[in-house]
């Protein structure tokens, strides 16, 4: 279809993580950790000392990197930069909000579900019936 953005294909794309220590440790044990020649990693461990600016900068960096296809972000961290997360809507890189130990997953805050939930709102139903 004319005007459709081409999906950038890759055969060795990375999974990036912005999450708490235990989640990042676990996924690093599963082999997703990558450190390039400039010592840049594909993960950010978020703790009490991590600033919102640092999280924002990392998120922007990961969404612009061509070698990253999926970003895993703890939902409570995503809530800190909700505006940024919700405004990102490209098919690749896919942003997946995941639960953390202390913060269970809440579908009401999920950016993907927020995008589609208006279909179920009274306004959209009413406008369809007119």
């Amino acid at each position: 279809m004319a005007g459709r953005a081409q999906i950038p294909t890759s055969n060795s794309a990375l999974i990036a993580m912005i999450a708490d220590e235990d989640t990042v440790t676990g996924f690093l044990m599963a082999g997703v950790g990558n450190v390039d020649l400039r010592r840049k990693t594909n993960y950010l461990i978020v703790d009490s000392k991590t600033t919102v600016k640092a999280i924002e900068d990392t998120f922007k960096d990961y969404t612009t990197r061509e070698d990253i296809a999926i970003i895993l972000i703890s939902q409570y961290v995503a809530n800190m930069i909700r505006f940024l997360v919700d405004s990102y809507n490209k098919p690749v890189t896919a942003i997946l909000e995941i639960p953390s130990k202390d913060h269970p997953y809440d579908p009401a805050h999920d950016s993907v579900l927020s995008r589609v939930k208006y279909l179920f709102s009274a306004e959209s139903v009413a406008s369809g019936r007119r």
Partner: protein
């Protein structure tokens, strides 16, 4: 009150097909959203298991041995990566498809083949051959030998990944590793379901917008 006549189509064939297509799009959207939420729920329980096993490993090995300070900060590629392709279902669909390549480092291409082969076997399970037991047993033993050969490099990669925590690690740490591997597989399914859901959502949205324009 509107009376619907079921015997004769009240609309011309073109419009009826359009309604069928719209209904199919809506159904696909609802199904993919349901699958997305189910997968998230499954991911939550897998992660909980992984965190618990990691905490148990930390308890038995000591907090200083299971620590992010020990992470390898030297340059190294990811052993587990993703294959991103355009969805084969529709040309120019704009829908990406993600495939997980576990433990597929550059020196381990056989394991990638093994992992893909085992996933293909899951999709197309072998039929049972009654009456040719010997042939079946030979085939099974050769498959087991092949899977063992494939598993060895994978096991080596797993051990290498845990080596940052020391040579001897708690079985709970190994169990946590497997749990997080399972979580990764679920996450890739979630990513694919997310693409499907957004694609179906776009279709439904387009139809709604078209209907508003007509009115």
């Amino acid at each position: 009150m509107e009376v619907v006549d079921h015997e004769t189509p009240s609309l011309e064939n073109g419009k009826t097909d359009k309604e069928v297509e719209e209904n199919a799009n809506v159904l696909q959207f609802m199904d993919s959203m349901d699958a997305y939420l189910t997968l998230i729920h499954s991911l939550s329980s897998t992660l909980r298991r992984g965190w618990l096993e990691l905490a148990s490993a930390r308890h038995s090995m000591g907090a200083s041995r299971v620590n992010t300070v020990l992470l390898d900060h030297t340059s190294h590629p990811a052993a587990t990566s993703l294959l991103v392709t355009q969805d084969e279902g529709k040309v120019d669909s704009g829908k990406p498809h993600f495939t997980l390549c576990k433990w597929a480092s550059s020196s381990n291409e056989n394991s990638l083949l093994g992992e893909k082969q085992s996933s293909q076997d899951k999709l197309h399970p072998q039929l049972r051959h009654r009456g040719s037991t010997e042939l079946y047993e030979e085939k099974t033993s050769s498959e087991n030998k092949a899977s063992r050969e494939v598993d060895d490099p994978v096991q080596k990669e797993r051990s290498k990944s845990l080596s940052m925590f020391g040579t001897l690690v708690s079985p709970k740490l190994r169990a946590a590793q497997l749990s997080f591997e399972a979580a990764l597989e679920t996450l890739v399914e979630i990513a694919n379901m997310r693409s499907e859901m957004l694609c179906a959502f776009d279709q439904v949205n387009m139809k709604l917008a078209g209907r508003k324009d007509e009115k």
